[in-house]
């Protein structure tokens, strides 16, 4: 059907906004997962235990070198092969979470290594164990150092969340596709979905900038 007809948009806006709600839920859960899972991965990749370090490096290499979509397929289609059946939403959260946990782990590892060794030496000489030093002294400083890079990963996560529509998670892209199957107007609805992503992205960037200002270490 050639030509543009913007009048179809208002009728389907609620459908798109419902999809947006699911996108936000999906992203919040994935972001939380990726930040939480990134820390142990980062710590494991600089562990003194060579075996742990190698396993972690291998895992990180695989998940860094393969596309997110393939990883989503592994979780959504592959896990049932070993008897684990996950819903699309959970698969999506897990997939996005693990993928970005790997990226966050790389970023956090840089941050941990960048904390000057004086901090480590001082905490140890004050009697803190290695675990306590990591937990209470190094990691908080490392996170503040790399907050901008982590923020960039979060923004990327929001945009890549559109992929989970391919494993049928009812988020914004899938909502747009449903509207399109009703109206046969892909251009209007994909542009509308894009605009919604752009607006959410803009607010996320604003929010992250404020977080960065607050957590930036005084230089």
């Amino acid at each position: 059907m050639p030509g543009l007809d913007l009048s179809v948009l208002p009728e389907y806006l609620p459908m798109l906004l419902l999809g947006l709600m699911w996108t936000c839920i999906l992203c919040v859960c994935s972001i939380a997962f990726s930040l939480v899972a990134g820390v142990p991965l980062a710590v494991a990749s600089i562990s003194r235990n060579r075996w742990l370090r190698s396993i972690t490096e291998f895992f990180l290499w695989i998940f860094r070198g393969t596309p997110l979509l393939l990883q989503l397929f592994l979780i959504y289609f592959g896990l049932p092969q070993i008897g684990v059946y996950l819903s699309p939403m959970v698969s999506g959260i897990l997939g996005l979470g693990i993928h970005y946990a790997v990226y966050n782990a790389d970023v956090m590892r840089t941050g941990i290594v960048a904390v000057e060794s004086g901090q480590h030496e001082a905490s140890r000489s004050l009697g803190l164990s290695r675990a306590q030093t990591l937990r209470k002294v190094i990691i908080p400083q490392a996170l503040r150092n790399v907050a901008p890079a982590l923020g960039n990963n979060l923004i990327a996560l929001l945009k890549e969340s559109s992929l989970v529509s391919i494993i049928t998670v009812p988020e914004l892209t899938l909502a747009a596709q449903r509207a399109i199957s009703d109206t046969f107007r892909p251009f209007e609805f994909y542009i509308a979905a894009g605009a919604i992503y752009y607006i959410v992205n803009y607010f996320l960037e604003m929010g992250l900038k404020r977080v960065e200002m607050k957590t930036a270490l005084a230089r």
Partner: protein, 216 residues
């Protein structure tokens, strides 16, 4: 783990891997051209050049790549643009990565010290001569790593074009998961090819980077 199956479908994955490589190479070329043009426009004082470039970078970095591909491939016919999947994929990926490359290139150009520009201009070189003969060669060294990151991202991002039915690695994996019901093996095969492609690309990028650095 069904190795017999892997052996049987290996050749189809190899062909799909080649499509992925072709797709990535073409998109990188398009992206570099767009990126260079947009970077120079963004650095220009002329608002007619500056504003469209800013809008381009902001829109294509701020929206999902999948949506961009869908607009071009599914939405295109509505505005008179009928494209086959492969060309639509190259254009979509190229325009998307071009926006990211714009920032990589612009960052590298801005990192070249102002003294170079000032010296060239005071020696009588025009603005374009300064840019082409003095600034860009020096910026080229600094661009390699960020552009390399963009390229690797593109190789992985090429998996999205499976959603507009380009027969590349992820599409092939999805298709064979559907017909063989052995997702793990298919993931393994596709993952292996992606890792090989990404490793080779990383190797080349590192070599180019080292070559430039040694010229100091």
């Amino acid at each position: 783990m069904d190795f017999d199956l892997i052996a049987r479908v290996f050749v189809y994955f190899a062909r799909a891997a080649w499509i992925t490589v072709e797709l990535s190479l073409l998109s990188v070329c398009l992206g570099l051209c767009l990126g260079m043009a947009a970077a120079l426009c963004k650095l220009s004082p002329d608002p007619w050049l500056h504003m469209p470039a800013r809008v381009y970078v902001s829109v294509f970095r701020g929206t999902p790549c999948l949506i961009q591909l869908f607009v071009i491939y599914f939405g295109g016919p509505q505005i008179g643009l009928q494209l086959e999947p492969f060309p639509a994929a190259v254009i979509g990926l190229g325009i998307n990565i071009g926006a990211y490359m714009t920032e990589s290139i612009r960052g590298a150009i801005l990192a070249v010290e102002r003294g170079q520009t000032e010296a060239s201009r005071s020696l009588g070189l025009s603005k374009s001569q300064t840019m082409v003969k003095v600034i860009l060669p020096q910026a080229a060294r600094l661009m390699i790593r960020p552009l390399g990151v963009n390229t690797i991202a593109l190789i992985k991002g090429s998996s999205l074009v499976s959603a507009i039915s380009v027969v590349e690695l992820t599409y092939t994996a999805h298709r064979y998961i559907g017909s063989t019901y052995r997702p793990f093996e298919m993931f393994l095969l596709a993952a292996m090819f992606y890792l090989v492609i990404v490793s080779i690309a990383s190797f080349f990028i590192r070599q180019v980077d080292r070559h430039f650095v040694m010229e100091i």
